[in-house]
Amino acid sequence: MSSTLPASEPQQAQASASVTNDFSIQIATVNGSGSQTANLVLLRTLFQMGIPVSGKNMFPSNIAGLPTWYTIRANRRGYISRKKEIDLLVAMNPETARDDVMGLEPGCAVVYDAPLRLDTLRSDLVFYAVPFDKIVAEVCTDAKLRRLVKNMVYDGVLAELLSMDAGEMQQALARQLGKKPKALALNQAALEAGRTWASEHLTKADPFRVERMDKTTGQILIEGNTAAAMGCLFAGVTVVAWYPITPSSSLPETLIRYLRKYRMDPETGKATFAVVQAEDEIASLGMVIGASWAGARAMTSTSGPGISLMSEFAGLAYYAEVPAVVFDVQRVGPSTGLPTRTAQGDILFAAFNSHGDTKNVVLLPGSVEECYEMSMASFDLAERLQTVVFVLSDLDLGMNTWMSKPFDYPEKPIDRGKVLDAEGVKALGGTWGRYRDLDGDGIPYRTLPGSGAPAYFTRGSGHNDMALYTERPDDYTKNVDRLARKFETAKSLVPQPVVEDVAGTQIAIIAYGTTHFAVEESRDQLREEHGVEVAYLRLRAYPFPATVHEFIRRYDRVYVVEQNRDGQMLGLLRIEGEPASAVRLRSVLHYNGLPIDARSITDGILAQEKAGNA
């Protein structure tokens, strides 16, 4: 590898000798071929060896038979964003093998299925031909199972080539297949066969190897959707209405599993939750709104096409002030787009989702931990602010496997917001009105149906303080001005940005969501390779608190890095920001469906710095 990596990176400087705990492996297979187990065993083995890892699945939008690529990155410094360059290719898919090999940088290693004869393609790579079928045939008598087991052989081969710990690998395998002893035995055999064959037939000719570290101690491996499901569980969600869509489905599906396991009433065996697979996304949000209105903590989860369908109801929730939590696990748009690719392309649409002066709260989780925490926060916010809250995750975060420190049990009790019971209303001595701002924060008090408290009439049409129908100009402006005030209040309640100021530099980055990990690495690249120090602000929610604008004011050139074509967050910052700061804002964009990588950011910033004001 590595002729592509800048010479200044210390560990590559010595090169050719050996590169330890710093490489990426790409496994090219066909989907539906069961390679996922083998890939996760690889990932987990590295993780168990204490080496920081990340795994990214690039799968097609179909069910079986099409090319799929799984990339594992091991990095001793802890970088877990995507790395553009592949160091080690496992070429199992005849259909793409040629392209896969041709796309490699010189010096890479290729493990391939021997009959593919890939070694004839190039002379600047290290090739390892492996007769997978032969090896498998020896350990697996059932011809039908061979296709599945074959994948475990490459794990064995890689283990040998990279010097992975055999014990950890066995344990990782056991974790994946522990409940299926027969499959476990078979795969163990395949693993061993691969390792043995490799040790007997292959001569190590590439520099990549692993070595035990201690950088993952106590950490967990988890997908963002699983983390979000956990957050919903501990948020005390009571009503879930959803409609399947990639890459969101695994969020509610995992949540259902958790709810069935942890939320059955111990005495009666009955459910303390209701989950409905609705007929579509419109009905999903309608159910969430109805449920929240009647006092439940309710959520739905979807992706782009779903939020496009939810616009009308989103506007209702905004204007009638009904809490609603909507997870949007973003995929590539517009339209159906690339359902199995990642993007951050729903920013503007979520923020302004619905006609006529609608503005929505948007949360921007940047890690699996934040998927968990912001899930909890989203319910509190939706109920406190009585509005719809969009939680914008993305495919990379939601469906890929991430390291994380373990999640904390929530310290704060659940916040159900301003809900009054009969006594509460009475205590106000006649001042209560459903849409009356009693506290100056724009947030009114509501009562719940069936609670015995005074009723009111909820409507998406014009209403006054008392929730009575009105078309009066003054009633209208009074109400929407209060809504604007409430949105102001939201600024201090939403998750605040994470600010890393750097003294003496004029350059800063603003990013959000999964872009964060690439930004971290890019900042190191800029510092180490180019001596450029860059301040950093990570947005975690819209509306933006003043901190954001103050941060921008402190730097001359603020690069807004994001994963969409139109620089949507930059746009939102322009709308909401200080006019005088507009000149400071610049875009670095990445929008080809793959997760953003550090090098693209570094290059993007350097190019603009050179072109302009560096």
Binding site: R263, T268, A283, G286, A294, A298
Partner: protein
Amino acid sequence: MSTDAQAPAPAPLKKVNRLQLDVSSYRGSKTTLCAGCGHNAISERIIDAFFEMGVDPHRVIKLSGIGCSSKSPAYFLNPAHGFNSVHGRMPSVATGAMLANRGLLAIGVSGDGDTGAIGIGQFVHAMRRNLPLIYLVEDNGCYGLTKGQFSPTADFGTKAKNGVVNDLPPIDLCAMAIELGATFVARSFSGDKKQLLSILKAAIAHKGTSLIDVISPCVTFNDHEGSTKSYAYVKAHDDPLGEVSFVPFFEDISVEYEPGSTTRVRMHDGSHLFLRKLEETYNPTDKLAAARLLHETLARGEFATGVIYIEPDKDDFLQLLNLVDEPLGQLPESRVRPPRAVLDQLMDQLR
């Protein structure tokens, strides 16, 4: 720039119901619908039915979509929480609300446009689920609020005010509901006070979804000659299946009935519904017979009214979901946030 004021409570009637409430507790705000609109008559019957059934109005939620019909929830049961949602989407909002609080009694009011056009998808799925909900369609064969366009329940051959003839077949909401698995399906006429009242009371007693399609003439846009949903036409072509009487569980069954000509249905709450057959011999628990009846009357240009289909004991959606008895929305934190040990266990599995 009007503001609908809460209607001043009328001078209290002497009559009270089993909760010792008089009918004023069941009234709503002053209607803003046209004088003579069928929808107003229906609101009156709703008031009567809830009053006579002695339902605690605080337990009731009233929901709707958008349309003249969908405005009506403002005109009955002021003490109940109301939700005038968006066009065609009352069913999902009602579903959510019932999931949140199974102790509620939900009445959803919709129009034939609201349900038959934009809302037909949610209608279909609501019928399948058998959620506890009185789903009442105020059916005038037109879009009243947008000034009289044909709706999908407009009959084949009916004439609009401007002379245009409808050339699409109507959607028969009752027939669809039966086909889809609804458990209480009735049709009535806003002008038939007695029948509508009995049906509403039975619906209040029913455990699952009640679909009530009430022909409710639009006096402003669809009451002319040539319209099959005009007051005169409906009155002339109303073909009651029989007499509907309802005896709530808290009253003695004093009704005299001949088992041969009267079907007696025991509702889930112990109330009784008596359906005295007139001309037809029909069995309101036979889906196919009900479908046949609807087709035949439709073909004759008539409206079969009464309780068309009933299946009083089918599991409702909340039973299917196996919910705890308490309203989900009111469970305390201790019952909805699992303890720390659960998180620890989950974390361990991921290490």
